[in-house]
């Protein structure tokens, strides 16, 4: 393989990987802080993409306006999810939450199928067709945008968790829920904020990546499995681990589909996840580093 092809695979992989990381970070956040697995995570991605399509087609909003509106709407949806699922089940066995979020994902998937039908839809972006060539490597505009959104969002998240009072409360809850109660942290408020932030991160990824792929009601399933793989590889609940594992998965997929063929692409995540679970069930970075 010559150097420019290698660099091209690497660039594609890194940009897709940043998107995977961004989508998975929301899942890692909810798991790390609430210790709950959100099976409806992929559906947040899917509903976000369909909302963006709807805002563009039916309300005539341009992509740049529809994108932030959609992210705000999905953050509100995260709040709703907290009210309906996470708050009533704070002290219930975790299987309850898994089943409840599974139920939410079934509901959302079939609602979207009923409303929008099963025909794949497409979102237009002003960056469609724009490219940038750098040293023989071709960068697509939308992919650069994904990478920029991911980096900015993650830097923002880390700053939020480190610097603000709320962020510190979230990290405290990740460490010890009972101690939080003792020092007067409002667990219910932290739960709401976590769910909203998780949904917003997922929506950011969805809005940035949606113009590159077709929209269909099952698309959330692929996303949630990739996110699970990423979260397991990076260590459940580990945010920087999820980011790095997302990059790793993106690059591995890019090389696998480039060198072995596209059918192998979707197997890569599973293979990595299974190897990881057999060799090091706590993930590459373990659970200790939370932020």
């Amino acid at each position: 393989m010559d150097a420019s092809l290698f660099l091209q695979f690497l660039a594609n992989g890194l940009s897709v990987g940043l998107g995977y990381g961004l989508a998975a970070v929301g899942l890692a956040l909810v798991f790390g802080i609430l210790e709950q697995v959100n099976f409806a995570h992929g559906e947040i991605y899917m509903v976000g993409a369909f909302t963006l399509w709807f805002l563009g087609q039916s309300m005539g909003m341009p992509y740049w306006l529809g994108y932030p509106v959609m992210v705000a709407a999905m953050a509100a949806f995260g709040l709703l999810l907290a009210e309906v699922v996470f708050l009533p089940t704070l002290n219930r066995p975790f299987e309850t939450v898994i089943l409840a979020t599974l139920a939410v994902s079934i509901i959302l998937q079939n609602l979207v199928r009923l409303v929008f039908g099963a025909t794949p839809l497409h979102i237009d972006s002003p960056l469609d067709g724009t490219t940038l060539e750098l040293g023989g490597v071709l960068f697509f505009g939308q992919r650069i945008f994904v990478a920029v959104v991911a980096v900015v969002a993650l830097a923002g998240l880390v700053a939020f968790l480190r610097r603000t009072e709320t962020g510190r409360a979230m990290r405290a809850m990740a460490q010890n829920k009972d101690a939080c109660l003792m020092v007067g942290i409002d667990i219910r408020r932290v739960t709401r904020i976590t769910a909203a932030a998780g949904a917003a991160l997922c929506a950011l990824a969805s809005g940035a990546m949606a113009p590159m792929f077709d929209l269909y009601p099952n698309m959330g399933t692929d996303v949630v499995f990739k996110s699970f793989a990423v979260v397991i590889i990076g260590g459940m609940g580990n945010i920087s681990g999820a980011m790095l594992a997302g990059l790793l998965l993106g690059v591995a997929e890019s090389f696998a589909s480039g060198m072995l063929g596209a059918t192998y692409r979707d197997g890569v995540g599973f293979a990595l996840m299974i190897i990881m679970l057999l060799l090091r069930p706590q993930g590459i970075f373990g659970k200790s580093v939370r932020v």
């Binding site: 009533p88 309850t96 139920a103 509901i107 499995f225 679970l277």
Partner: protein, 282 residues
């Protein structure tokens, strides 16, 4: 179809109800059984008594193969891995075209032929599935009322105490996984011969979706609850001839409501004495 769901519901019930493990791998065993029986019939021309037995064995074996790595994991990861196993098999079935004809599926699967007698028509199938379901319920009863079944409940309710009493939790759960796989594999084989068509879609999540509603609403950890759930939730949608999206939507809403408000299922209404702590797991 009802009979098939009775087998599947008991398969999930052994895991969820008696072991307290939320396993989403049932479609994986189901699909393995379906493909195993189909390929043995079409490629080798075996009698269905043999292919059904093989499908059961393949299901049980898959349960053990999946159980060895996944049962060592944390319980969160366990759920994810069982779900991924089904999806991974779906990818394999879609892409191993030489064996499974990929996404096209395999059509014209002959009906089951037991010791030279073919099962023709709906009434023959109904009788056959009724017998199989009765056997499955009886087998489940035998398992859960045996020492092994009591060990499962012990491990579910208090693992350290069970270990102290000399029970190896891993072995017990592996055994449960094998039983669960065997029932689902058999159900898959029946499905293939009854519908005469299979494709990689059978590994999908929709079976788990129906099953969870049947088992949890029926009452996980009871013998008859899941049977009642399976009968009600196959007959009702047929009778009301609902569109699949509407059916799934209703299942989703039902599942959410049951999980949040009625975690012990319908069995509670009948005042049946539940095994201590029965429910969606602890």
């Amino acid at each position: 179809m009802t009979g098939m769901y009775v087998l599947l519901a008991q398969s999930l019930n052994i895991m969820l109800g008696y072991c307290g493990l939320l396993s989403l791998a049932t479609p994986a065993f189901f699909g393995m059984g379906a493909y195993a029986s189909t390929l043995l019939t079409l490629r080798l021309g075996w009698d269905s008594s043999m292919t059904l037995a093989c499908a059961t064995a393949v299901g049980a074996l898959s349960g053990v193969v999946l159980g060895v790595p996944s049962l060592r994991l944390s319980r969160h990861s366990f759920v994810i891995v069982t779900l991924s196993a089904a999806l991974l098999l779906q990818i394999v079935a879609s892409n191993w075209i030489g064996l499974t004809r990929g996404a096209l599926g395999i059509a014209d699967i002959p009906t089951a032929r037991l010791f030279g007698i073919a099962l023709e028509g709906k009434s023959a199938w109904l009788a056959f599935m009724a017998v199989l379901s009765a056997l499955a319920v009886a087998a489940t009863w035998l398992i859960v009322s045996s020492r092994l079944g009591r060990a499962m409940v012990a491990v579910r309710d208090n693992e350290p105490l069970a270990i102290a009493a000399g029970i190896d939790p891993l072995k017990i759960r592996l055994f449960a996984f094998a039983c669960s796989g065997a029932l689902a594999g058999l159900a898959g084989a029946c499905y293939a011969h009854y519908l005469s068509f299979i494709d990689p879609g059978i590994f999908g999540f929709s079976i788990s979706e129906s099953l969870l509603v049947m088992v949890i609403l029926g009452g996980a950890g009871t013998l008859w609850g899941p049977v009642a759930g399976a009968v009600i939730f196959t007959v009702l949608p047929e009778a009301l001839s609902m569109a699949p999206e509407v059916k799934s939507l209703i299942y989703g809403v039902l599942l959410l409501l049951i999980v949040l408000f009625m975690p012990r299922g319908m069995a509670r209404w009948f005042g049946r004495p539940l095994a201590a702590g029965a429910g969606t797991g602890k």
